[in-house]
C-alpha cells in the first residue's frame, strides 16, 4: 500500500498543482470519500469529486469535457466488480474508460491521465490512496497540454460561470 501523503510534494511550493476530476458513484466511492473524511485520512487537495448515481452513467463525452475544461487527470470510481448497485454499471464504465484512454493516446493527451478504479463504500483508506496515486501520476505526466488559458478566456467570453 502506498503511503498517504499529507501534501502533494515535499519541500517547496509546487509549481504545478494537478487538477483532477473524480467521477464517483454515490453507492461506493462517494461513500468511501465520506469515510476517508470521518477517519481524517489526509490526501492531496488536488481531487474534485463529482457525484454520479452509478459509474455506468459516466459517458465518454463528459470525460473528454473534463479535459477540455482544464483537468490534468480524470478518474471514474465505481463499485467493486460484481457489487454494482445497478448490477453491471461499473463494467460499462470500465469499457468506456478503456475506449477514452485510447482516444487520449491518439490525440496526444496520454491515456494514463484517465483511469478507472473500483472500491467499496467501506474502503476509505483506498479512496485516499487513489487520490495519492492519481496525483503522483499526474505530477509525473505534467500539466495537460490542452489546459490553455485561452479555453478559460473563451468560456469567459461566452459568459458562462465567470464571476462578474
Amino acid at each position: 500500500m502506498s503511503e498517504v501523503k499529507s501534501r502533494v510534494p515535499d519541500g517547496a511550493e509546487p509549481e504545478f498543482v494537478p487538477k483532477i476530476v473524480a467521477f464517483c458513484c454515490y453507492y461506493c466511492a462517494y461513500s468511501a470519500a465520506d469515510l476517508a473524511g470521518s477517519l481524517r485520512l489526509q490526501y492531496p487537495p488536488t481531487i474534485r469529486v463529482i457525484e454520479v448515481p452509478c459509474s455506468g452513467k459516466v459517458d465518454p463525452v463528459i470525460l473528454l469535457k473534463a479535459f477540455e475544461e482544464g483537468a490534468d487527470g480524470v478518474y471514474v470510481a465505481g463499485c467493486l466488480e460484481g457489487d454494482c448497485h445497478f448490477l453491471k454499471g461499473n463494467f460499462r464504465a470500465k469499457k468506456r474508460v478503456a475506449a477514452v484512454k485510447k482516444i487520449l493516446d491518439q490525440i496526444g493527451l496520454d491515456g494514463r491521465r484517465l483511469e478507472m478504479f473500483n472500491l467499496s463504500a467501506a474502503m476509505g483508506t483506498r479512496f485516499a490512496e487513489i487520490a495519492v496515486e492519481m496525483t503522483n501520476r499526474i505530477m509525473e505526466l505534467g500539466p495537460s497540454p490542452i489546459r490553455p488559458e485561452a479555453v478559460a478566456a473563451r468560456r469567459a467570453a461566452q459568459g458562462e460561470v465567470e464571476p462578474r
Binding site: P45, V52, G56, G70, D83, V161
Partner: protein
Amino acid sequence: MPDDKTSGTVLVVGAGIAGMQAALDLADGGYAVHLVTTDPSVGGRMTQLDKTFPTNDCAMCLLGPKMTDVGRHPNITLHTCSSLVRLEGEAGDFEAVIREEPRYVSVKDCTACGECEQVCPVELPDRFNVGLKSRKAIHKYFPQAVPNAYLISKADRPPCRNTCPAGCNVQGYTALIAQGRFAEALAVARRRIPFPGICGRICHHPCESECNRGDLDEPVAIHTLKRAAFDFGRAEATHPGPAPTTRKEKVAVVGAGPAGLTAALDLVEQGFEVTVYDAEAKPGGMLRYGIPRYRLPVEVVDEETEWVLRRGVRFVGGKRLGEDLTVDDLFAQGFGAVVLAVGVQKGRALPLEGIDARGVYLGMEFLRAAARLGTDEEDLGRAELPDLAGKRVLVVGGGNVAVDTARTALRLGAAEVQMVCLESRAEMPAHPWEVEEALEEGVVIHNSWGPKRVVTRPTPAVPCACGAAGAAAGPSLGEAARPTAVGVEMLRCVRVFDEQGRFDPVLEPGTERLFCADVVIFSVGQAVDQGFARGLGGVELARGGYVVADKVTLATARQGVFACGDIVSGPGSVVGAIASGHEAAESVRRYLDGVDLAQGRGLPKPESAPTPRRPYEVRAREREAAADPAERRRDFREVLGGLTREQAVAEARRCLDCGDCCECLQCVEKCQKKAIDHEARPREVAVRVGAVILAPGYELFDAAEAGEYGYGVYPNVVTSMEFERLLSSTGPTKGHVERPSDGRPPRRVAFIQCVGSRDVSCDAEYCSSICCMYSTKEAIIAREHDPDINVTIFYLDIRAYGKNFDRYVESARETYGVRFVRSFVSGVREDPATRNLIITYVEGGEVKTEEFDLVVLAVGVRPPWQARELAAAAGIELDEYGFARTDELEPNRTTRPGVFVAGAFQWPMDIPESVMNGSAAAAAAEHLLAGGRGRDVRPKVYPPERDVSKEPPRVGVFVCRCGINIAAVVDVAEVVEYAARLPGVVHAEESIYTCSQDSLKHIKEVIAEKGLNRLVVSSCTIRTHQPLFRETLREAGLNQFLFEMANIRDQCSWVHRTDERAATAKAKDLVRAAVAKVRTHEALHLSEVPVVQKALVIGGGPAGLTAALEIAGMGYDVCLVEREHELGGNLRRVRRTASGADVRAFLEDLVRRVRSSPRVEVLTGTVVEDFAGHAGHFRTTVRSRATGGTRVLEHGVTIVATGARESVPTEYLYGQDPRVLTGLEFEELLEAAAEGEGTTLHGRGAGSGAGDGGLPSSVAFIQCVGSREPGRRYCSRTCCTETLKNALRLKALRPDAQVWVLYRDIRSYGVLERYYRQAREAGVIFVPYDEKAKPEVAVEDGDLVVRVQDGATGLGLTLRPDRLVLAAAAVPAEGARELGTLLKVPLNEDGFFLETHIKLGPMDFPSNGIYLCGAGHSPKFIAEAVYQARGAVARAATILSRTHMLAGGVVARVDESKCAACLTCVRVCPFSVPKINERGVAEINPVQCMGCGSCSGECPARAIQLAHYKDGQLAAKVAGLYAKVSD
C-alpha cells in the same frame, strides 16, 4: 382504509438485518414503527462483517443504504440503547414500555464532528472491533453508524470517587494526568476539592483502600497524583476570575477553615455574595495553623486559599465569634443565611495532678504557635512557644496531633523527643505512615502507658543556670509560684477499648513509672473554644460545646443558620470538612430558594463499579521520594517530594478506568453544539402498538469456554469474529492479516469448526448453520488479501446447504486452494518460543499433529444475551436452547398471540433467511392489523410549489462552518464572499450549523424574502444531509430538486487539515461547481400512477397457498394460478415433518382456507401465457390447460411460487430394480405400512425380506443422488433431514431394522441436528463416502449389494440391504424456465429463479413489483417456504397497500426525435425497462426506471437523458470546477 379501532403501529425489537427489514416493510406498507435496539446504531451483527458469503459482497456496502433508509424513514421512530421492559394488553392492543438508556449525547444535536473524541482521555476496548482496538469513552459505535451520533460509555461510579467524602472525581484527573494534561487534571480535581494541592499532601485518602486496582496488584497512588496535578498543573492553570454575582442574597460564613471556605466557594459560584469571618488574620484555619509546615508548606496554603478568595469570596480576618461579632449582628447586617464553621480549636487538658505546672503545654496551641514561625506572624508564635533547644520533650498522646507535636518539637531543637500513649502500636489512632516517619526521625514511642500525674518540683524563685525547667519560656514572672514539671508518672494501660469498642482505658495500679522531661506536651484530643457560644443566639449546643445540626441538611435550631466541619462532627479529616462544606452550601442555596432542604439527600451511596474485565499489566505503584530523616528532622522542609512528572503519568496509566467515562467533562467544553449532558438519566416510554416483532439477533459463543483450544491463553488463537475484523479494511489492522502476538502475517492458518456448536457439553446440541460458510468466506478473503496464507479448515460436515453455497466451497477448494480436512481436533498447544500452535487431530484412524501460525475458532451461535429478560418482558416462552419457541409450521409465531419473531432469535440462520424472516414477521403483523393500515402515519402537507421555470436563476448559497469542523481549516468568510460574486447568486451567508433547526427556519425565511429559486448548501455529505435540505425546500414551496450540495467538510476540511490555503481554494471550486450545476436544475415532479390493488400468485404449493392467504388476510384480492389440477404441489407426497407433525393435515387446512376465502380466486390447471405492464399495473394472460380458454388478469403485483420437485434418479439401478426407491417413495411405503395398507406402491414395495407388516429389515440410504454433482452443483438442502426422518421412522416402527446412511456431509443444520443425534443413538450407521469413490450397487444372487469405501476408516464395506433409498435431488418445477422468459426475470444455471440480491433481496426480482418465494428460489423446507412466502407478501404489500405509486424524479427519458431505435438501451438496461413503442422508438417507463443512467451513458444518439444528471448539467458542473476567476 383503516377501520376505527385497529392499531396501525408495530413495535420491532432489534435493528439487525431482520429487524430493519421488518421495520422498512411495515413502514413502507403504511404502518408506524417503533424500532428498538440495545445497540447505539441500527445494523446489528452484519455491520461487523467484512464480506458476505457466497458473493463476497462488502457487508457495509449492502447495509449502508438500508441503514440510512431506516434512519430517515418518516414512519420509523428509532429508540437506540433501549430495550422492551414490559408488554401489557393483547394482540391488536398492547402497551409496550421501552426503557431508553442515556447516550449522554443528544442524537438530535450531535453533528458527529468528533471533536469530543479528540479531547476524551479515556481509552476503552472497542466493542465493535471485538476488543482488538481501543476507542474513547465518548465515541461513535462505528464510522457509518445510524443515527450518525456519538455516545458515552458509562459504568457505575468508580470506587475511588464513590468513597471520597467530597466525591472528588479521581478517575477524571487521573485520566488527564495519564495524558500529561496536568492543568486540566487540576481543574477536574478542583471541582469538588477546592484545595487539591493541600489534599494531595495531607488527605488520609480512604479512596486508595477501595481502589479496584488493589485487588490486582497495588492501589493507584490517588492522593499523590492529586498533588502531581497541583504541582505540575498550577503554572498553566488559569484562574477563571471572580464568579459573577447573580443573586441579591448575602451569606456570612464564620470560620475560614476547609469547611467554611468550601461552603463559601460553592455559594459564590452559585452567584451569592459571601463574606467569610475568621478569628485569625489569615484564612485556612487548621490547614494554616494546625498542620506542620514539613507536611504542608505555607506557600501551598497561601496559593489555594487565595484561589478561593479570588473567586469573589470576601475575607474578614481577626473577627472572633462571640467577641467581635454575633449571629444576630450578621442577620442585622443583612445576611440572609449564616454558616458556622468555626472548627475545634483548643487542645484538651486532662484533669490531672500537676497539669498546671510550668513546662506543661497543650499540643494544639503548640502547633498553632509553631505554624506562625517563618511567616509575618513569627513574633506571635515565638511568644507562645517554649525554647526547646537541647531539651527533653515528652508528648502524651498517640493521635496525629501528637505525632505532629513530637516531630515539630524535634524541629524546634529538642534534644530528645519521646511519645507516650495509651494504645499499642497497632491501636494508635495516628496514621501509620506518620508514625513511621516520626520513628525514622528519632522520636521514641512508649506504648500502652496512661498518665497518672505530672510530677513537679518547686520552681526556683530565681532562674538557675543549670536547671532546664527554669529556663523555659512561657510562664510570666508573676506565676513564679507555680511548680515546674519534671516528668509524668504513668501507669500500664492494659486495655484501651471495651468489648463494644468504646474508648474506656483501664490502667493497672501499682505499675507506676516516671517519664522524665523538661517539657511535657499533652496531645490527647481537641476541645471546642466555648467562647463562641456567646455569639450564637438560639443555636442549640450539645455537650462539649458542639453545634447541634441536622445530619443531612446541617440546619441548626436557628432558622437560616447552618453549621459544618468539626464544630458539628468533632475533629475529623480535611476531606470530611470539605464534604460538609459542600452540604452546608447546598442547604443554604435551598433555604434561600425556599425549597425543601432534605429532598433527595442523605441517600445511601450506590454500589461502586466492579473491577473491569480488561487486560492489564501487573506493575507496582510509583513511590514518591522522601527527604533524608537525618537532615529533615532539624528544619521544616517538606518531607515528601511528590512524584516526578514522568512518574505521575506512569502511575496514572495504572488506573483501570472503572467508571468507563471519567466525567472529566472535556467533551462538554469542546462541544460547540452543547449536545452533551452527563446528567442524562434513563427514561421509560410507553407506546401503544398492535403487534410486536422480536428480532434481537444472536450472540457468539464465548470461545474461552472451550478450554481445549487455548483461546484467551494463547494470543494466536482468535475467534472467527476477531478474524473477520482483522480482514476488514475498517478493522484494527486496516485489513492486513496480522498475528496478535507479533504482528507478523501468518503463513499457515487453521480453522476449527463447530466450536460451541453440535456439542452437548457446551449446551449447544444444535448446529449454528452459518459457520461452515463464514469460515470458507474468511479463508477465501484471507487468501485474496495475502496469497501466501495457506488455510486449512478442520470440519465434521461441510454444511453448504444454501443457494450457491456448494459452488462457493468448491471455489474455495479449487480456485483458492483452501484445504478441507474432515477431522475432529482434539486439542491445541502453543510452542512458547515461536507462539505457533500445534494442532492434534485424527485422520484416517491415525493421530496427527500439525503446526500453524494462527488458529481461528469458528464460534457458534448463541441465543441473544438479552433473551431471558426479553422473553419475560414480552411474555413469550423460550425453547430448550434459549431461542424463541415457535411452531414448526408457523415459524414466525411465538407463544403469545400478536408477538412475532424474526431472524436468529428463532433459530440460527444466515442473512437472506433473516431478511425473508423479517419480511415474513412484518406480513404477519400486517395481517393481524389489516384494519389499522395507514391509521398512525400522517402524510406531511407541503405548501403549493412555486413555478420557477420562467424565472432567471436566483441562487442562495449557505456555507456551513460546522462548528469548527470546516471553519478551522477553510476560511469560510472568504468562501462566502467569493460565492456572493458568482453569477446567479443573489444571497450568500455562513452559519455555524446549517442543519440546525433555527438555520433551516432562517433558510426558509431568506428564500421568501429574497425570492430565491435555487439553493446551494456547502457543508457536508449528500448521503446524510441532502434529504434534510430538500425537505426544507419543499417546506418553502420550492421543488426539492432545485438544490445542490458542495461537500466541503468530508471532502475538504477533514482531509486537507494541514493546508488551509489549498482547502479554501478547493472549497471555492466546489461551491462554484455546485452553483454552476444548480443553475441548470429543473423542477422534477413525481407523478401518481394508479395501483391495481390485486395480486397474482403463480404456483399452488405451500408457498403460493400461504402467499394467497396472507394477501387475502390483508384485505386484497388475489388470483392463484396453478398448472396442476390440484393444489398442494410437491407437498402432497409428504406425510410428516422430521418432528412428526402431520403435513397432510397442514396442507388440507391450507387448501380449505384458500378455497373458502372470498378474496382468493383459484385457477387450477392454468398456465401463464403472456405478461405485460409494470409494477402497480400488470396484465397477465392465463390459459386453461383443459379448455385452452384464455383470460386477462389485471393486478398490481406478482408473486412467483412455482416450487420444486423430486428428480428421477438415473443411477444405482433406480427404475431397474423395484427395491430401489426415492426418499419420497420410501416415505409413502413407510406410512402405508404403518397404516397397515400393505407394502406396494407403484409396484415397487414388494421384494424379498419385506416382512413384518411390509417393513424392510435392512435399508441403505445413499445421499446426494443427483445433487452436488457435475451438471447439478447444488445441495438439495432437505434430503439429509428427510433421510434422518425416514430412518428414525423405520427404527420406531421396526426397532430391529438395520439402517445404513451413505453420505458425503450430513447437513442437518440448525436445530435439525437433533435428528442426526437421535438417529445415531437409535443405531443408524453413518458411512461417509467420497464423491470420487461413489457406492456401487449391483444385484448378486438376487440380493441388492452395495459396496462402499468408508471415508473415515478407508475400509471397504459390502452391504446387502432389503431396500436401497436414494436421496434424489430437488429440481425446479416444470415450466419455470418458460415463466422466467415471459416475466423477464432471470434464472440461475440450475434453473432456479434468481433474486435481485442473494443477501438483501431474496424475495425481490430486479423488476419492481414481481416477488419470489418457495422452492422455486432454491430447495427448502415447508417452514422456510412459508416464511419466504409471507416475506414476499410483505414486499408486495409496499405496493399493494397504495392507491397510487409515485413515478419519475431521477429517471431516464427518451427524446423521441433523436431516437434511432438502435436498441442499445434495450441491451444495456440491467432491468429490461426500455421498450420500442408503437411509434417505433425507445420508451422508458418512469415507473420501472431505477435511475442508474446506464442507458444515457451508452445511447449513441444522446437521445436519452437522465434527469438531474443531464449532459448539460454535468457539463456545467465540470466547467464550474475550473472556471477561471477574475478577482
